[in-house]
């Protein structure tokens, strides 16, 4: 059985999948990750019914996204994997959004966008056809800069994710653009991706780290 954990946005969600059967539950939408995640997993297991011992793989969204949420989700996933011996698999919030767009029939250029806070987005471009193909790496970008970039591109584009909800006025103004409102990355989609992937250590994807690391050694340090 797969357990899925989603904490990359203000929403907290979890899911279970085994064979053809899948369930997903939105546990809270207002940043109460630490409060609702573990009880929520217990409720899902009880309702299935199953126990933690039945979980053989844990799929966790490791970002980019809300820092205060990700650390709860990743710490919980790592702890449960350690305790149960379940395999641990990470997926990114951005690839889950892109796959969600594909599941809804979107094709062509798709930009997955997560609200990065502080007036920025975490974004990654994909091409959707027979498969979901990443066109670049996840990066931090201002909504207006992203909109300008796509306004200069000839092809229509679909923005998908919570970032497309928050910045619908900037991104929706791009000629030929569509904003697909998906408020949080789907746990079912994450579990489907994670089912196909080799287990590996999971670390939070912060994105801003790379910039900040560059600044660190250049300053006097006590």
């Amino acid at each position: 059985m797969i357990l899925g954990i989603e904490t990359a946005t203000t929403a907290c969600a979890a899911g279970l999948a085994a064979g053809e059967r899948r369930v997903e539950s939105l546990l809270a939408s207002d940043r109460r990750h630490v409060e609702v995640l573990v009880p929520g997993i217990q409720s899902l297991l009880a309702a299935w019914p199953a126990t933690l011992g039945d979980v053989t793989r844990i799929v966790v969204d490791h970002g980019p996204g809300l820092f205060t949420g990700l650390r709860v989700g990743i710490a919980t996933a790592v702890a449960l994997a350690e305790a149960t011996g379940a395999e641990l698999v990470g997926v990114t919030s951005l690839e889950v959004y892109a796959a969600e767009a594909a599941a809804r029939g979107v094709t062509g250029s798709v930009v997955a966008v997560v609200d990065g806070r502080r007036g920025e987005l975490f974004a990654q471009s994909f091409t959707l056809g027979d498969a979901v193909v990443a066109r670049d790496i996840p990066r931090v970008v201002r909504p207006r800069d992203l909109a300008e970039h796509w306004a200069g591109a000839a092809a229509p584009v679909t923005f998908v994710g919570d970032g497309a909800v928050r910045y619908a006025s900037d991104l929706g103004a791009v000629p030929g653009a569509t904003c697909l409102e998906v408020a949080w990355p789907s746990v079912e989609t994450a579990m489907a991706i994670g089912a196909q992937r080799d287990p590996s250590p999971v670390h939070p994807l912060y994105l801003r780290e790379a910039d900040a690391v560059a600044n660190f050694p250049t300053r006097p340090w006590p």
């Binding site: 809300l66 820092f67 205060t68 650390r71 990065g116 806070r117 502080r118 007036g119 920025e120 201002r142 912060y206 801003r208 780290e209 790379a210 910039d211 900040a212 690391v213 560059a214 600044n215 660190f216 300053r219 006590p222």
Partner: protein, 154 residues
């Protein structure tokens, strides 16, 4: 950017009070300057103007200290942080200050320039320069796109 000359610590407190008048919920203020330049003294002025009643001291060892505020501006909490003793970026990121301030708080971050990318482009910066024993120069940079502040240099 505009610079304000502070002849003594009381002037530096007054500068903190002046900045507080422009702060809105969600603001992050990075305080940059050498040890003893007045960053914590300045912070007491900001705190006083936002209605913090308790004593504000350097959060060097606690890294971040939340202070309850009493004002009519929607700023409920002042997070006073100090990255002087932070040894890695992970530690700075762990404070999640950029997210904590959303909606109803502001943050003052001493030595915050060490992890500037964590705060995003929309933050204030106050750069402290020691002129002599008492005199300090405080250079203020407002977040991009914010209405320009007037009267800082006075």
């Amino acid at each position: 950017m505009s610079a304000r000359r502070c002849a003594n610590p009381a002037d530096t407190v007054a500068a903190g009070r002046a900045l507080a008048a422009w702060l809105v919920p969600g603001d992050v203020v990075v305080l940059t300057g050498p040890l003893g330049a007045g960053k914590t003294v300045f912070s007491t002025g900001v705190a006083a103007a936002l209605g913090v009643r308790e004593r504000v001291t350097s959060p060097t060892f606690t890294l971040v200290r939340p202070h309850a505020c009493a004002n009519d501006r929607g700023i409920v909490t002042l997070y006073h942080a100090d990255l002087y003793r932070v040894e890695s970026l992970d530690e700075a990121a762990d404070l999640a200050l950029g997210e904590l301030v959303e909606e109803s708080a502001v943050a003052l971050i001493e030595w915050g320039e060490r992890a500037e990318a964590l705060w995003g482009p929309d933050h204030w910066e106050v750069r402290f320069t020691i002129e002599d024993d008492d005199v300090r120069e405080l250079a203020l940079t407002a977040p991009p796109g914010r209405a320009p502040v007037t009267g800082w240099a006075a």
